[in-house]
Symmetry: C2
Subunit: 499 residues, 2 copies
């Protein structure tokens, strides 16, 4: 390793430690911290993040990075990737004026409270001025960065590096064109189906055990990770060898706990699968939120909601849950894959989910591009829900106010959920081709080859390769809607007898 690289690494290591320490404090805050700890904890996390930012966005980093860029590096080496990614992060960190960061933090702290109140009281007007402020600051933030065509590109790039608004819009238009009529047909066909079996009693301990059994069978390594409870499930990591999942259990509803665990385990296996050589550096993270979501959705949906999977796990499920004693596998499988237009994104099935995302993407573009006004959002929201899903939310609380993201200042984040869905099918199709009998493997509970394929093609690279590079190297394709549409048509067409 050159001296310049060694010096850069030595400088970055404690900054990484500070950020990982902040992640531990945030994890504890969501899992175990008593209420009394909140005030001090906010201060402690702020201090850690501030110190990390100050040390990173410093002249020292600039000097070390300049020197490292002059070093003679193989462009495909980890060192070169480290320099590239550090430059990207550094540019983002220093381009944002401290004033703007502070204003955003201030705005978000008010916006979050206002959003909570607005949702609780179903009064969009309470949130509207705060959302306007968040939009204005996001536009200001976007203008601090370079972007290819439009300000929204800069915001999207924060979550999905390298992806442009135009690319997303093209792919999403493709999805929407074909999906809207498909959803219409499927929801009509599924209208008489009954998913109430999922709402029986499922003992929390058994739910917990079943979810973890499957997560471990998938390959989530419990010696390098664990699972705890939290109100809102998430995955975080403090090292490649210390990855934390959380889940929540509803004793009267099978899906959130079980599929939540599989989903988070998918995120977790991505983090655990990053090359150990990247450990302790900013390369040891998922390369984009879209790729991250492709991993969680692949295990949750393409494996966990598949027929082969349930052929294998049905006896275990029946053994664990007395509520399933009188249920046929076929009925359970249909319930798990019930399609219905619902106003709430997080409760949406895998068919309708992407339409919830399209809607948000269009609104975000409208807000940032200046073609939509905040005050018009409830009407726009409800009109598009009706046009895409055939339903109108009965309240703004269950409509435009349902998600926390905007109140946290995050605009440009939503599209990554749908990108993940699309990528998950592209990757899964390729794995099926490469592995030959993937469905049969899943049908006997053998997930090792699939995980190994994902490790080799996706996980190991961390941030050394972009989402586009990973997708292209693994599948030979760019991001596309067609594979996902084909998957949906085939699976749900068969389920609901639609050609």
């Amino acid at each position: 390793m050159s001296d310049a690289i060694a010096a850069l690494r030595a400088h970055l290591a404690p900054i990484h430690d500070l950020n990982m320490a902040a992640a531990v404090l945030e994890w504890d805050q969501e899992t175990y911290m008593p209420d009394g700890g909140a005030e001090a904890r906010a201060r402690q996390v702020t201090t850690l993040r501030r110190l990390a930012h100050e040390q990173f966005a410093s002249d020292d980093t600039a000097t070390l990075l300049d020197a490292a860029e002059r070093a003679d590096l193989d462009a495909s080496s980890t060192d070169a990737a480290l320099v590239r990614v550090t430059r990207r992060d550094f540019t983002q960190a220093v381009k944002l004026p401290t004033r703007l960061v502070a204003e955003m933090a201030e705005a978000v702290s008010h916006a979050k409270r206002a959003w909570q109140e607005a949702r609780a009281t179903d009064t969009f007007a309470t949130f509207a001025p705060h959302l306007q402020r968040v939009v204005d600051l996001n536009i200001e933030q976007a203008e601090c960065y370079d972007y290819p065509e439009q300000p929204y590109d800069a915001l999207l790039d924060l979550y999905e590096p390298g992806m442009t608004t135009a690319e997303v819009a093209t792919v999403f238009a493709d999805v929407r064109t074909h999906l809207v009529p498909l959803v219409h047909d499927l929801t009509a066909a599924a209208a008489s189906a009954d998913a109430s079996v999922l709402h029986r009693h499922y003992a929390p301990d058994a739910q917990w055990r079943f979810g973890l059994e499957v997560a471990e069978a998938f390959g989530f390594d419990m010696t390098r990770g664990r699972q705890d409870r939290s109100a809102h499930p998430f995955t975080t990591n403090f090292a490649v060898d210390d990855v934390r999942l959380t889940t929540r259990i509803d004793p009267q509803f099978f899906s959130p706990g079980f599929f939540g665990t599989l989903h988070e385990a998918g995120h977790g296996m991505y983090e655990q699968g990053i090359d150990a050589a990247l450990s302790g550096t900013r390369l040891a993270a998922g390369t984009s939120l879209g790729v991250h979501e492709s991993q969680s959705r692949l295990w949750e949906n393409l494996v966990g909601r598949s027929r082969p999977f349930w052929n294998h796990y049905w006896p275990r499920a029946q053994a664990l849950f007395p509520s399933l004693a009188d249920v046929e596998l076929d009925a359970f499988y249909r319930a798990l894959n019930h399609v219905a237009a619902s106003p709430i994104r997080v409760e949406a099935d895998e068919v309708t989910y992407n339409l919830h995302i399209m809607l948000r993407f269009e609104i975000e573009q409208g807000l940032i591009g200046g073609t939509m006004a905040v005050d018009d959002l409830p009407a726009i929201w409800n009109d598009r829900m009706e046009s895409y899903l055939g339903i109108r939310p009965e309240s703004d609380a269950n409509g435009v106010l349902q998600d926390i993201h905007w109140s946290l200042g995050a605009i440009g984040y939503f599209p990554t959920y749908a990108l993940g869905n699309l990528m998950s099918v592209q990757l899964f199709n390729q794995a099926r081709t490469d592995l030959g009998d993937l469905d049969a493997q899943i049908g006997r509970g053998a997930f090792g080859a699939l995980l190994e394929w994902l490790r080799t093609k996706v996980h190991c690279y961390g941030r050394t390769r972009s989402a586009a590079e990973i997708l292209h190297d693994a599948t030979g394709q760019t991001l596309q809607a067609q594979p996902w549409l084909d998957y949906i048509r085939q699976k749900y067409g068969a389920l609901y007898g639609i050609a």
Copy 2:
């Protein structure tokens, strides 16, 4: 608040945050962290502690402290206490050369592994050179500080600020003189007693519930704290309003889980009782380890092993534990207070415990004073065990190698356990005098007045008052052996029919 004080506080706040963050990471390490996380975690904690140390032992601190000392402060004010305590800590931090700190860290990392191996294989020789190194470095450390008479004073002062070796030696001599014959008589009288009832099956869930029920009845506030499991019980805090207890449960032994919980809750209530105005500063901590231990032992022993306590809780214990169905309260109470000479300190009853401490105190003085050689320790240990307790450990693993403290570099720590025992009785006696019918209150499960007394007399001050000041203001006494000896004589004399 003067500008100088405000500036000092602003400088110290993020340093405190860093130390509290390190405490969160250490807590997680002992409670939830998967094995895989160990390597990264060690690095993260080191980074946080190093940054905190660098920022504290800095010229900035010196300048701000000098200015604060020139401010016109009421000597009894919190600000004055902050300046005083910060000066003390600063002096300790800067007097230690970085080289020595690094050497100690290095020595301890080897010593801990060697100790583990030595204990596992019962070979003192494996640990001896490491212990010698720890002793040498402790002597070097002591010489960096000022001390009244002897180097051991400086070490003791790290854990029990203001206490001298001579004071401890005088009080301990008093204890030993009277306790050795008393232990001889009591162990003889108790020889035929049977404590096997404690070793029946006690369901872990019921143990957990019972311990927490009592801890909450004592006044441990679960909205500002919680309890988790760990291999070695401890209490830590990340804020006055976020205090974490840990305990361990043995399904076949009642005492460790239950009395461990009461003990740690005693520590925890001390931390929770610190004046909220001290929160976020280095004054928000126990004033000494001895005072801390007085609080844990008071609740564990003086309350939790008392007859009035069990008069109240016996029905609840019988309801929770089927193993107690055929047991009489009297027999259970005697089992809980069984006296026996045991080689292991952490398993010792409250009568013999202090003799285990005396032994360690004498050896530490001998090592630091140069009157004992490391190689002679096994023989010295066993001889004194025989002389004080009438037993010889059957192995060094259960003798001189039993405790982890020396391998961690801590010399001067052990005496605080016994100091806590002595202080606990002095404080409890005064509370009984002040409260009038304390035993009756305990007998009806009413602990509020006792906790309030401790809050007012001990807890609220944090580090604004020294151990000696707190003890004297609360009881009118200096540290004394007699009250503890009287308590032991009276309680155990009655139990075992000895005058």
